[in-house]
């Protein structure tokens, strides 16, 4: 791969074919392994199950899409979207102040340290982080033990674990990096003089924050919002490890459908989710030009 990345282009766009060659491997991966499989999946969601091969056959049908509304599947869709939206809202409410501490209220050293601390969990096992909440929130976990020994409650609180509360808490804790980092990137694009000027002219902190900072970091907030929502809609492990008995999510529903080898229905569920997410992301990108966020990285 390195052979073809000659770096000719660093001097200027003299030799167009090189640019194309350099772009080719990543485009091949994204298109060949990303777009095409998703498009095939969308197509196959209109095919039918083939009992002879235990796979699918090209008999066009809308049966899978009709089945989306059966067996309480619509409820699972709405519940997943609801929990994801709640997770996203809480994450954003926490992330804006946290990112402000990094972007506005810390010197360079502390900002770098805080940013590292907010980023590191992203590279650790989400499974372990979800599992750890079981020990903390369980009937005899730290929280319940503390509540009982402080006399706040008489018996352990049951709804802490295996509940929607636990699922949302687990997801918020897991996906905070997705919410915080884009806002920090947005802060890097703010001219410091603008903030100093507003403070010099007598604006109080809250006036400055709401009229200058919030509008300027809005693309970061929306980007973080989207990232968190996307992963929260798609995840299954928090629901499986922390959710109550019978709790479901779209991903768990897909796995259940696959267990009875109903491939077209699984494809239909996934296709609907991906399509809705694409619409959501496109609208947000149109409105806020999210790709500009990366300019603050100097790229």
């Amino acid at each position: 791969m390195l052979d073809e990345s000659g770096g000719h282009e660093n001097v200027g766009a003299r030799w167009r074919p090189t640019t194309f060659l350099l772009a080719l491997p990543s485009l091949a991966v994204l298109v060949g392994l990303g777009f095409i499989p998703l498009a095939l999946m969308a197509t196959w969601s209109f095919w039918s199950f083939d009992p002879d091969t235990y796979w699918i056959k090209p008999a066009w049908s809308l049966a899978s899409y009709a089945a989306l509304l059966e067996d309480g599947r619509a409820t699972v869709f709405l519940r997943t979207a609801g929990l994801a939206a709640l997770t996203t809202a809480v994450s954003t409410l926490l992330a804006v102040p946290a990112a402000t501490v990094v972007g506005l209220m810390s010197g360079p050293r502390r900002a770098a340290l805080l940013l590292a601390l907010f980023t590191i969990p992203f590279f650790t096992s989400g499974l372990v982080r979800a599992f750890a909440w079981r020990l903390v929130l369980g009937r005899h976990g730290v929280v319940n033990n503390a509540l009982v020994s402080l006399g706040i409650v008489q018996t352990p609180v049951e709804w802490l674990l295996f509940s929607d509360f636990a699922v949302v808490l687990g997801m918020v804790a897991a996906y905070l990096p997705f919410a915080i980092i884009p806002i920090v990137l947005a802060f890097a694009r703010i001219e410091h003089s603008v903030i100093r000027a507003s403070l010099d002219l007598g604006a109080g902190f809250w006036t400055m924050f709401s009229t200058i900072v919030l509008p300027l970091v809005m693309p970061g907030i929306v980007a973080g919002f989207l990232f968190v929502f996307v992963v929260a809609v798609g995840t299954s492990m928090e629901v499986q490890l922390l959710g109550g008995a019978g709790a479901s999510s779209i991903s768990i529903m897909i796995n259940d459908v696959l267990r009875v080898v109903n491939f077209p229905l699984a494809f239909a569920i996934a296709t609907v989710v991906v399509t809705l997410l694409i619409v959501l992301i496109t609208v947000a990108n149109r409105a806020l030009r999210l790709s500009r966020l990366f300019e603050s990285l100097g790229i």
């Binding site: 660093n10 485009l27 980023t119």
Partner: protein, 285 residues
Amino acid sequence: MSFDSIVTGRTSGGRLLFSAIAALCLTIMYAPVLYLLLASLNPDAQLGLVPPSRYSLTWYLALLEDRRLAGALEESALVGLGTAALATPIGLSAALAYRAMTRMRGIFLLVVLSAMLVPGTMEGLGLSAALRVVGLTPSWVTITIGHLLWTLPFAAVVSLIGLSAVKPSTIAAARDLGAGPMRAFVDITLPLMRANLISSFVFAFLLSLNEHARAYYLVGRQNTLPLYMFGAMNSGASPTIYAFSGAVIVISIAVVAVVFAGLAGQRSEGRDERQPRPADRGHTS
């Protein structure tokens, strides 16, 4: 470059409130894992904390005898190294292409980053179906393919950040002095990007090592670590799973911390190089 925070004066409670929320974020991100780590040092079969004098590595030593774990570790290492070895050069290549582009840069970047915005379950499902039709048997190869898609956007961004530290004028100077494009790339660009390329490799490896949703659909006979762990977590956990979780977390955090320290070191080094010292300027003018 200021060495103070931007907002310094009175904040009508803003600083206090925001710092408290930042502390709350760090607490929910780190406290449960810290508790798990301490609990994993408890030698008793019953879960809970013990005084530090009784800390023991009993369960960590028990890990060494777990054969299924060894198999999963081997599979994950294979997939992680394969993923990182592919994602790093392809990400670098994408970054170089982005740098060289004059038109359609925004679209190219969006395409490269798009894989971040598809949930793992849907991506894994689609990919497994497509690979099945192509006739590829599920194995470490199929997981590696899925993880390449997942890690490539991150590898490309890390390379882009590194490339932004390589000034076009430096390359132009090398070219003026007679270096061919390949020579300039190998002698100037690559060394300046060294820390970023290492981070790119390590991040891709860690992201692959801890990825669960895609691997679930693409796995062959041999489980990867997260799949093995998920099974163990849901089947009346033996204390070894705490030790194992603890080991995974400690190793991941240590590796990322080292990489971050290396990146920070390179950045301050790079800043010294890029900013002409006043003395130099005096000589030339």
